[in-house]
């Protein structure tokens, strides 16, 4: 998925029904909005509904020329999403506290679509080349979704180490992905 700065032209093309822009809009935001909503503790069952509602509201605003600054379009989308979710909180108490996210590990998690098989392979390679203990720490953070303080206590590390560890793993993953001709066939 292309990442590029939003601008007034993007908003205009979206308003005018440009097919490419519409497709980009419909596929670019949902994965990011899922992260936002998960962070808010929204129940997984309602996340897709909130995303659809958000996209509808944003498109309505675009059609009505209510977007003042195209460069802040992303911020507008996330604000609408947060507001929609807050309305959902008020109407429907079916929410979960942050941390109760078992349902997100489900195999039918729509977020899985953002991860290609090649990317998963790169991550596995990164993990296999890490020190076993570091790989276990990373696994504990991602797999168990345990309380991070508990992970730190268990492994005798501090939060700073956790951040460095995840940063290094992410950088290594990105390096490998960028070197992969499957991702950049023109290189």
């Amino acid at each position: 998925m292309d990442h590029f700065p939003f601008d007034d032209d993007y908003v205009r093309r979206l308003r005018d029904g440009d097919r490419f822009t519409g497709e980009h809009f419909g596929s670019y935001f949902p994965p990011m909005l899922r992260i936002v909503l998960r962070g808010m503790g929204v129940h997984a069952d309602t996340i897709e509904d909130i995303i659809q509602e958000t996209l509808m509201r944003v498109l309505a605003a675009v059609q009505a020329d209510k977007i003042r600054d195209g460069h802040a379009f992303g911020g507008f989308v996330v604000t609408v999403c947060r507001n929609t979710a807050q309305e959902g909180f008020r109407k429907n108490p079916k929410t979960e506290s942050i941390g109760e996210r078992d349902v997100w590990s489900s195999r039918d998690d729509p977020q899985r679509e953002i991860l290609s098989r090649e990317e998963a392979r790169h991550v596995r390679d990164v993990l296999l080349e890490m020190k076993p203990r570091d790989a276990e720490i990373l696994r504990a953070v991602c797999l168990e979704e345990r309380d991070k303080d508990e992970v730190c206590r268990t492994f005798g590390i501090d939060r700073a180490y956790l951040r460095v560890l995840i940063h290094r793993a992410k950088e290594e993953f990105r390096k490998r992905a960028e070197r992969d001709p499957l991702f950049f066939p023109d290189h």
Binding site: A72, G75, I98, K148
Partner: protein, 219 residues
């Protein structure tokens, strides 16, 4: 939040690790939704999280668990024979039942590799809540008699042995039945734990069903 402060404050990492309060999260989201660099960072973390979640490390090769009754009948005798200098004969020269070929091979390995009478630790629901974890001597192989209480949610189990610093030492697949002896090479002194994880029917991540701590002290 601008891009420089996002970088300086390791915002993407803290966001990913859920270290921000809701106000900080909202602030960073307002930034990264319009920042190609931070968006790429957050999505890379998300992909990493998902791939790690799906990652199932290859278990360290360990001997196949054997029927407990067979092991209990043969192992002490075989090991005693080995200690007495008969080890070179090999158990398979004595016990030739074909259906036990794998187990015999396993016991031969046990004799050849571990050379010692194993310390046994009972790991059953009854011992799990013991006030003091079992304490065994270092320098001897261990026989962990793990009792599994089958549950309909799990298709199988695995025993993951963690050592000091929570380093994973070995993983043993365990079928859904009764008591399974898990053989472990001699361990250095330290605190250990055997974690039993249930492998779910629905393919979701394994769930820890029991944890058995034990201590290995210097010989």
């Amino acid at each position: 939040m601008d891009h420089h402060s996002a970088i300086d404050s390791q915002a993407a990492e803290r966001y990913t690790l859920a270290e921000m309060n809701q106000a900080e999260r909202a602030d960073f989201e307002m930034h990264y939704f319009d920042c190609t660099v931070c968006t790429a960072d957050v999505l890379a973390y998300e992909k990493l999280r998902m791939a790690v979640r799906d990652w199932n490390p290859k278990p360290v090769p360990v001997p196949v668990p054997v029927p407990p009754d067979l092991l209990r009948r043969i192992a002490p005798w075989a090991i005693a024979a080995s200690i007495a200098g008969w080890g070179c004969v090999g158990i398979d020269h004595v016990v030739t039942l074909p259906q036990y070929a794998a187990q015999v091979h396993y016991l031969n390995n046990l004799v050849d590799q571990f050379r010692g009478v194993p310390e046994q630790i009972e790991m059953t629901p009854g011992t799990r809540s013991a006030a003091m974890p079992p304490n065994v001597k270092s320098g001897r192989p261990l026989l962990l008699n793990v009792e599994i209480l089958p549950h309909e949610d799990y298709v199988s189990y695995r025993g993951v042995l963690y050592g000091p610093g929570n380093a994973m030492i070995q993983t043993t697949p365990i079928a859904v039945d009764t008591t399974v002896p898990v053989v472990v090479r001699p361990l250095p002194a330290g605190s250990y734990k055997m974690v039993i994880e249930g492998v779910r029917k629905d393919g979701n991540r394994p769930k820890i069903t029991a944890t058995y701590p034990f201590v290995v002290s210097g010989s």
